[in-house]
Assembly symmetry: C2
Homo-oligomer: 150 residues x 2
């Protein structure tokens, strides 16, 4: 009986962890897609505060052709540089998400359009997400272009 | 007694998992640094086969200004494009590693030198690593420059 109880207990732990992990993967992917939509919205609105709030407290925006922009002040500079370059809207497409507890990573593609709606750039990205303060936030965000240098 | 046994059993599982995780983080970081040194070596030697062997079977080399290079044939093309551009050696510095079982991610910095030893580029990267076939391999590898466009 003692052995049976131990085995059942172990099986129970495994079941809860296993089921929880599977369910979490799907839910987190949806939460990440929703956060990406918020990022697209605040980029289009040129609302730096709303964008910064989507990053962790020590989040890093790792844009091409610049040193990494880190933390709220840094990310504000990075966003401003993007807007100053003429960027008006970004569309994000999630290709892969893997979730590990409070951390997840995402591989995806972006399309960047100018303020007049013209195509500016398109490429690929990796984001490391952290579950912080009750929501999934961008922690490390790197991307580059698929286009030839202009 | 039954309750005590269950509690002890749970504590034992927690201890093994907890200790294993801590030890694994350090070991994996060292294994990843060793794999990065192998990558530097094969880039310097222009040995495509040795470099390709460091990537997973469906690994993705996500270089700037090109579509993602995926799988052995794709990665070969990406490496050749890098060598054709004059690249001779790359130095990699690991800043952050987090390990989740058979997956890890790394954030780091690179310096790229030409075949004549001159500085070509420097920047930042994220690599998603997978433990595949007994060793840690690059699975998703993205980077971009910190330098202004030339």
């Amino acid at each position: 009986m003692r052995k049976f109880l131990q085995t059942s207990f172990a099986a129970m732990i495994f079941s809860i962890v296993g089921f929880g992990t599977m369910a979490a993967q799907g839910n987190v992917a949806e939460e990440i897609k929703a956060a990406n939509q918020k990022l697209s919205d605040c980029v289009a609105a040129q609302d730096a505060d709303a964008c910064i709030a989507l990053y962790t407290a020590d989040g890093m925006f790792m844009a091409p052709n610049a040193n990494p922009y880190q933390g709220p002040m840094g990310i504000r500079d990075g966003l401003q540089a993007m807007w100053d370059s003429g960027a008006g809207a970004v569309n994000l497409t999630t290709d892969e998400v893997e979730v590990f507890g409070e951390t997840a990573h995402e591989v995806g593609r972006f399309v960047l359009n100018g303020k007049d709606g013209s195509h500016m750039d398109h490429g690929k990205y990796i984001v490391i997400w952290k579950h912080e303060g009750g929501s999934w936030k961008l922690h490390r965000d790197i991307f580059n272009s698929n286009m030839a240098p202009r």
